[in-house]
């Protein structure tokens, strides 16, 4: 019977080989311990079965030396495994600078992706080869989990806050994407594909999606999240209080992303995606020092995608080159 079963799934990201090395080491260590324990039970059980002629003289009285030896041996092996696993885990959580940023919105039961230039995809994500990709993810309803076996990465996607995961694909192809947090009726079908293309193919694909293919008269190129965010920023009248260069009624939002905000209660919080989101929906929860609680909540007036666009805009305010 022909089968395509393989112990390890295709390895297609830079982190995958590191994870596989630990897994192989674990299989060897744990396999050896299994053989040792099963073997000892069988050998001791059969050799010292009732009625066998092996001597039972000189039974060990005190096993303290043995006890401490296997305690410390176990401890040593565990400590090594802990450090090894932790180092890779750490790398999984520190995205390199200059990663391609894609936002992900999960909902029952689909994945939607938005590229930096505004191109959108459903249940499919095209990414370029050998380019770190950073996903900023949130959910519109329940908890989901983003799992790409070929990349050896997994990250829960939560409602009400942003989680991030990054990877760098190193082999072109189409790879399975699964939701691994049970999320209701069609959880089993909440799957997708990550399509890894060479840089040239990716550019071509992006151009096609953006509608710039020859012969088209209408400009279908979607607006980037930054532009959409800027538009919302004016439409929702954020700009009336958050005036650039002045901070009388509300703080100036340029250059704040990534800094620490000083709060009224004396603590400070890092200005990240979750912080901005919370401020749009529930401005009273965290008051910035020196300001009155005058901002209204925009809960119900903005969708998750609107919030993502606003965040993209606020992020861009801190960067040197102004967005178009």
């Amino acid at each position: 019977m022909k089968t395509d079963f393989a112990l390890f799934p295709v390895s297609a990201s830079t982190i995958a080989s590191h994870v596989d090395t630990v897994m192989i080491a674990l299989l060897v260590i744990c396999g050896a311990i299994t053989v040792l324990v099963f073997g000892l039970i069988l050998i001791l059980g059969i050799r010292y079965r009732r009625g066998s002629l092996y001597t039972r003289e000189l039974r060990p009285k005190n096993g303290n030396f043995l006890e401490w030896s296997w305690t410390f041996a176990t401890f040593g092996v565990f400590l090594g495994l802990f450090v090894w696993g932790a180092r890779i885990y750490f790398r999984m959580h520190v995205a390199p600078a200059g990663a391609l940023e894609v936002s992900v919105l999960a909902k029952q039961w689909m994945w939607s992706f938005q590229h930096p230039d505004g191109a959108k995809e459903l249940n499919e994500l095209h990414i370029p080869l050998s380019q770190p990709v950073l996903l900023t993810m949130t959910s519109q309803d329940v908890i989901h989990s983003f799992f790409v076996p070929a990349f050896r990465i997994k990250q829960d996607v939560l409602p009400g806050r942003y989680t991030q995961v990054w990877f760098e694909a190193n082999k072109p192809g189409a790879y399975h994407l699964f939701c691994t947090q049970y999320c209701g009726t069609a959880h089993a079908d909440m799957t997708g594909k990550i399509i890894v293309q060479t840089q040239a193919d990716y550019e071509r694909w992006l151009a096609g999606v953006s509608g710039r293919s020859a012969g088209q008269r209408v400009e279908l190129r979607p607006l980037s999240p930054i532009v959409l965010g800027e538009h919302l920023f004016k439409k929702l009248a954020c700009i009336t209080c958050h005036v650039e260069g002045r901070g009388t009624v509300a703080p100036d939002l340029s250059h704040i992303f990534g800094t620490m905000a000083q709060l009224n209660n004396g603590t400070s919080v890092k200005v990240d995606e979750t912080y901005v989101r919370a401020h749009i929906l529930d401005p009273g929860a965290w008051l910035v020092r020196g300001y009155d609680p005058v901002m209204p909540s925009f809960r119900g007036q903005v969708s998750e995608e609107d919030i993502m666009n606003l965040i993209a805009y606020i992020k861009s305010l801190g960067q040197e080159s102004k967005p178009k």
Binding site: V10, V19, I41, G63, L158, H176, T180, Q181
Partner: protein, 455 residues
């Protein structure tokens, strides 16, 4: 001859008994009933998965089946299994007491357990629940259209039975030991139930609080867990696992106690390293409270919290390893006979070792990221809970069956069943550990798309 079984044969005498032995029998019958229900759900799950597309039941039904399987097996079979049946029967005898400290509370525990069980059973018959046994929010509070409250009410009520049983055992072991039966002479079975009781008394109230908060949000829309109402979606997982991780040890420590009695008996030798065995039982009980965060390695909790929980998870594995080595060493220069209880006990050691070693994979942070929420985890805890606890429970029931019933079981059939259970569990869960490494997630009604994950 008059004994506790035939001194009075009326139904009333059984339902109003305060005799710890009779209460043990009541539990034996009732958990067997729930075991069959949980087993029926498991059978339907496997039957559905025989066809790649899952053609037996609809997706919603499948989701309800695995929820029923989990809820019933965890709270209505595994948690009460060894403590309530064998613990009730044996603890007073082993420490030389006439009964447990509070016999009427003991009977009340059984009634509370049955009330909770009937609530949950009612919810299942009414239409079932589809949240998975973990009731993760906000799915359970805001999205599921099934009988979440009724099921959770059953679990909530049954929790009090656990608390009362734990309390009863703690007081009994502290205050009613026969003169001269010092802590260092206490049978290891009693030690393991002592540690179990501490967990039951300290952890179960957290579960009760968690379920109550869940009910508040579901019924009254009070925002606790759903961010749309101002709640925190991860808070539930922290609270739930703060109970449920220690509860995992409720589902294995008593089994370790049983095996620690059986192995010396059939090896004709005292247990190797008694002191290390008692200390490791307590260490597991204490450290078990400090590792709940290893269920949240990919949830979005901080990387540093992940590091701490990973290290602590390795630490809790050390006492378990010590126990395995000590059981094995007990065979050395013994006089080993392979009677039914011994076969179950040796099966326990083997399956528990497999469960413990797959647990090491999960404690390694980078590997957990890959195998988290896949069949690997399912195989891991089934090795421990079914391979470990069910083997130990059946071994214990066989071991003390003559004491309980005054009769002897068929040795031949006993051995056949012990070997069959061992073989079935090894052949059922070993392949799934491996296909999970290839990336197959859990809680899915269809196999096809994920079985080919190595496309």
């Amino acid at each position: 001859m008059k004994n506790y079984l035939n001194e009075s044969l009326t139904l009333k005498s059984w339902l109003t008994t305060t005799d710890h032995k009779r209460i043990g029998i009541l539990y034996l019958l009732s958990i067997t009933f729930f075991f069959l229900i949980g087993g029926a759900a498991a059978t339907l799950i496997r039957l559905n998965l025989m066809t790649p597309q899952g053609e037996l039941v609809r997706a919603d039904t499948y989701n309800k089946l695995f929820t029923v399987h989990g809820v019933v097996m965890v709270w209505f079979f595994l948690i009460p299994s060894v403590p309530s049946v064998l613990g009730n029967f044996l603890i007073p005898m082993m420490i030389g007491a006439r009964d447990v400290a509070f016999p009427r509370l003991n009977l009340a525990s059984w009634y509370i357990y049955m009330t909770g069980g009937l609530f949950t059973l009612g919810a299942i018959l009414w239409g079932g629940v589809d949240t998975g046994w973990t009731f993760y929010t906000p799915y359970s509070t805001m999205f599921s259209n099934s009988y979440v409250i009724a099921t959770a009410a059953g679990v909530f009520i049954t929790g009090f039975s656990s608390i009362f049983t734990g309390l009863n055992f703690l007081v009994t072991i502290h205050k009613m030991r026969a003169p001269g039966l010092t802590w260092n002479r206490l049978p290891l079975f009693v030690w393991s139930l002592y540690s179990t009781s501490i967990i039951l008394v300290l952890a179960t109230p957290v579960l009760a609080i968690t379920l109550l908060l869940m009910a508040l949000e579901r019924i009254f829309r009070i925002g606790v867990f759903d961010p749309a109402l101002g709640g925190d979606p991860l808070l539930f997982q922290h609270l739930f696992w703060f109970y449920s991780h220690p509860a995992v040890y409720v589902m294995i420590l008593p089994g370790m106690g049983v095996v620690s009695e059986i192995v010396p008996c059939f090896a004709r030798k005292r247990i190797f390293g008694y002191r290390f065995m008692t200390v490791s039982v307590l260490a597991i009980g204490v450290l078990g409270f400090l590792v709940w965060g290893h269920h949240l390695f990919v949830s979005g909790q901080s990387v540093y919290a992940g590091l701490v929980f990973s290290l602590l998870s390795f630490m809790v594995a050390i006492p378990s390893a010590i126990k395995v080595f000590n059981w094995t060493a007990t065979l050395y220069k013994g006089s080993v006979s392979f009677s039914t209880p011994m076969l179950y006990a040796l099966g326990f050691i083997g399956l528990f070792t497999m469960g413990g070693l797959t647990g090491i994979f999960l404690a390694v942070l980078a590997v957990d990221v890959h195998v988290h929420d896949t069949y690997f985890v399912i195989a891991h805890f089934h090795y421990i809970m079914v391979g470990g606890m069910v083997s130990a429970y059946l071994g214990g029931v066989h071991f003390w069956w003559p004491k309980i019933s005054g009769r002897m079981y068929s040795e031949w059939w006993g051995r056949i069943s012990a070997l069959t259970l061992f073989w079935v569990l090894i052949s059922r869960f070993s392949p799934s550990s491996f296909w999970a490494i290839s990336g197959c997630r859990g809680a899915i009604t269809t196999i096809r798309p994920s079985f080919r994950c190595s496309m």
